[in-house]
Symmetry: C2
Subunit: 384 residues, 2 copies
C-alpha cells in the first residue's frame, strides 16, 4: 500500500473477506463500527502464530517469536493511528478493563480532588465502570453532556468519548481537553468509535489518558484486545490499580513487591491473549502507509453519499457537518431491531441501538460508494 493521503472509499476492499449476504454474494457490510470485516492479513498472521509459533516453538515463543514484546510493539502500531509517539500505548485486555485501570490511575494523578466528571451519554461500560471507580476511590461521579461540561478546581478526572456511540457525533476533544486542563483536571478519552476512522492526534491535543477498542474500525476480530494510552509526561507518576506481574519492572525477578515498569509498560496486567493479539497485528497492515485524515475524508464521503440518497423524511440523528461527524451515521426509525433484521435479509448489515436508532458504519477501507447508496435505497424501500 503506497503512502496515500486521499484514499478512495473501498481503497482496500480486495484485502478483506466480506460477510455473506443471504444470496451468497458479499454483503453491504456497514457494521464496522461494531465489528470490522476480516482483513486477509489478519488470517495470515493468525495462521503463522498458530503453525509457525505456538505449535513449533512452544513456550520459547515468548522470547523467540517476540510475544513478550507484543503489547508494546502493537501499542506503538496503534499509537501511530491515534497520534501518539512511540512508547505511550499498550495493547491487551478489554476496553472495559483498560478503562477501569485508566480511571483509577487518572484519579490518583489528582489525589486532592473529589469529582469524576463523565459524559452522561457515554457508552454503558464507561458509565458503569465510572460508577464502580467512584465507589472504590471515594470520588463523586457527576455526569453531563461533553459540550456542556464545566470542570472546576474540584474535578479530578474528565471522562469523555471522542465520538458518541449512538449518534456518531464527534466531540471536540481538543476543546474539552483544554477546558479540563484549565481547571487542572486530567482527561480520559474513550476512542472506541474513533480509532481507525478519523485522526485523533492524542499528543497534539494534550490528552492525558485514553483507551479504545480494536475490533471496530481497526478490524482486529471479535473481542480483539483494547489499547491504553498515557501521555509520556505522566508515566513516572502513574500509579495503576491492576498491578499484574507483566507490568513489573523485572517480571521474571518475581520479587516481593510490585515495582512498576518504566514508561507505559506498567499498564500491562496479566498474560495477554496472544492469538487475538497477533490477529490484530496482521489486521493493522491495512493501515500501513495510509493517513487517517484521508480515511476520514473517504468515510465522510460515504456518509454524504448515504445521506444524499436517503428520502428527506428520514430523521438523521448525526450532525451533517463534517467537523462533527465520526465514522457512522445514525437514523431514527420506528422498530430499530426489526428494521435491522429486514435490512440484513436484503444483504445490508447494520446495527440497532435501543430504543430507535439504526447505525450505518462507514469503514472506508472496504465500504464503497455503491454500498452507501444501496444501503440508503434498501432502507427507503422498507420505510412506510
Amino acid at each position: 500500500m503506497p503512502s496515500n493521503s486521499s484514499p478512495e472509499p473501498g481503497f482496500a476492499r480486495d484485502r478483506f473477506v466480506l460477510p455473506r449476504a443471504p444470496d451468497g454474494g458479499d454483503a453491504v457490510y456497514l457494521a464496522g463500527n461494531s465489528l470490522g470485516a476480516q482483513p486477509r492479513s489478519a488470517r495470515a498472521a493468525l495462521l503463522s502464530a498458530v503453525d509457525d509459533q505456538w505449535a513449533r516453538v512452544g513456550v520459547a515463543g515468548w522470547e523467540e517469536c517476540g510475544w513478550w514484546a507484543t503489547p508494546q510493539r502493537l501499542g506503538d502500531r496503534v499509537g501511530a493511528l491515534v497520534g501518539a509517539a512511540p512508547g505511550q500505548v499498550v495493547v491487551g485486555d478489554s476496553t472495559s478493563v483498560q478503562l477501569f485501570g485508566a480511571l483509577i490511575a487518572a484519579a490518583r494523578l489528582r489525589p486532592d480532588r473529589g469529582v469524576l466528571l463523565s459524559d452522561a451519554g457515554h457508552f454503558p461500560t464507561d458509565r458503569y465502570l465510572a460508577t464502580s471507580v467512584a465507589r472504590l476511590t471515594g470520588l463523586e461521579l457527576v455526569t453531563g453532556a461533553p459540550p456542556a461540561m464545566a470542570p472546576d478546581a474540584g474535578t479530578a478526572v474528565v471522562a469523555v468519548p471522542a465520538v458518541d456511540f449512538r449518534t456518531g457525533e464527534r466531540w471536540d476533544l481538543g476543546a474539552i481537553t483544554a477546558r479540563a486542563h484549565e481547571a487542572g483536571a486530567v482527561v480520559v478519552a474513550d476512542l472506541s468509535h474513533a480509532a481507525g476512522v478519523l485522526p485523533v492526534e492524542l499528543d497534539a491535543l494534550g490528552v492525558d489518558l485514553a483507551v479504545g477498542c480494536t475490533y471496530k474500525y481497526l478490524n482486529g476480530g471479535p473481542g480483539a484486545p483494547a489499547f491504553a494510552y498515557v501521555a509520556a509526561h505522566h508515566h513516572d507518576a502513574l500509579d495503576p490499580p491492576l498491578t499484574g506481574w507483566t507490568g513489573h519492572a523485572d517480571p521474571f525477578g518475581m520479587t516481593e513487591a510490585w515495582t512498576p515498569a518504566p514508561g507505559v509498560g506498567r499498564l500491562r496486567v496479566g498474560t495477554p491473549p496472544m492469538l487475538s493479539m497477533l490477529a490484530l497485528d496482521g489486521a493493522l497492515e491495512v493501515f500501513d502507509g495510509v493517513h487517517l485524515a484521508g480515511v476520514h475524508a473517504a468515510s465522510l464521503a460515504l456518509g454524504d453519499a448515504f445521506l444524499a440518497a436517503l428520502p428527506p423524511a428520514v430523521e438523521v440523528v448525526t450532525p451533517r457537518e463534517h467537523a462533527r461527524r465520526g465514522g457512522h451515521v445514525a437514523v431514527r426509525v420506528r422498530d430499530a431491531d426489526g428494521m435491522c433484521a429486514a435490512l440484513a435479509r436484503r444483504g445490508v448489515v447494520v446495527d440497532a441501538r435501543p430504543p430507535d436508532l439504526l447505525r450505518f458504519g462507514f469503514a472506508a477501507p472496504y465500504v464503497t460508494l455503491d454500498d452507501a447508496r444501496t444501503a440508503a435505497r434498501e432502507l427507503a424501500a422498507l420505510l412506510p
Copy 2:
C-alpha cells in the same frame, strides 16, 4: 476419546503438535506447566472461527455463532474439569484481572472484617494484586504459608493456590477451606497450576471463589483467557468491582445503572477475545470423556519415572508423596537459566524459576514415560 479413568501417560499424544527439537524432531516438551502444547483441535476450532464465523457471518456471529454465550458455555466446560456444576464459571480476561475482581468481590462478602490473608509464596501476580486490593479496600494484607495459615474472626478472605508455582507442592485445599470457613472467612483459590492436571472438586470442597489459567495444562494457547468460579450460594450477594457491560442483566438495554446479571454472568466484564476463546474451546476436546483423577495418576507416574531416573545427588524440591504433588517436579540447580538453555539445546524443554529452580511439567495427555526418563538422563548428563 472413550471414557477412561486410567489413561496411560501420553494417551492423547497424536492429538497434539509438539514443538520442534533442534534436530528437527519432536521436543521432549515438559513446559506444559507454563504453556501447553498445541492440540490439533484448537487449530481446527480457530480456523473455523476465522473462516466460517468472523469472515462470513460478521457481527451477526455474536448471536448466530454463539459468541455471546461463549464465556459461560466455555465456563461450564472448564467447570467440569475443576469439579464445578454448571452455571458457576465464566471464561474471559487474564488470570490477573479475574483475580483482582474475585478478591474484591470476596472481600465484599465479608464487609465487617479487616484482613486479607494470602499465601506468602503465592505467584507474583497474586501477591501484587492482593497488595493493590488491600490498598483499594482498606483491608490489611497478612501473608503466611498455606499450611500455617490461621484465619480468625477478623479474616475476610483467604487467598491460596492449589499448587505452589515453584515447588509444585499441592496444598490441601479442602483443609484450608475448612479452616477458613470455621473462622467465617471466604476462600479465593488460584487453580492455575492445578486445572487440567489434577482433580480439584471445587463444589465438594466448598471453595467460595476460584480463578485459574487455561494456557498451561488446559492447552488453550499463549495467553488463553482465564476462568473464574463462584460457588452458586454466593451468586446473589456477589458484588464485583469490574462492572463491565457484558455482566449486565440486560446488556443491550444500555440502561443508566449497572444491574448485575443473574448468577455467575455478573463476572463478565468487557468483550472477550473471541479468537483466543474459541481456540481454547477446541483445545478442551482433549479432555472429553477423560477423568482428571486418571490424568493426575498418569502425571504422577511420569513424575515417578523422572524421579527414579535422576541421580540421587540431585536435590528435588517437590514432595515425593503423591498426595502432596501437583503436575510438575522442581529440582534445584546451580545455574537454572543456563541449565534450562542447555537442556533445550538437547531437545528437552523445561523452564527455570529464579533463583535456582528447574521445573519439569508432566502433562499426561502428550508426555510419555520415555520423555520423562530422557529428561532425567539429559539433566544428569549436564550436571557436574
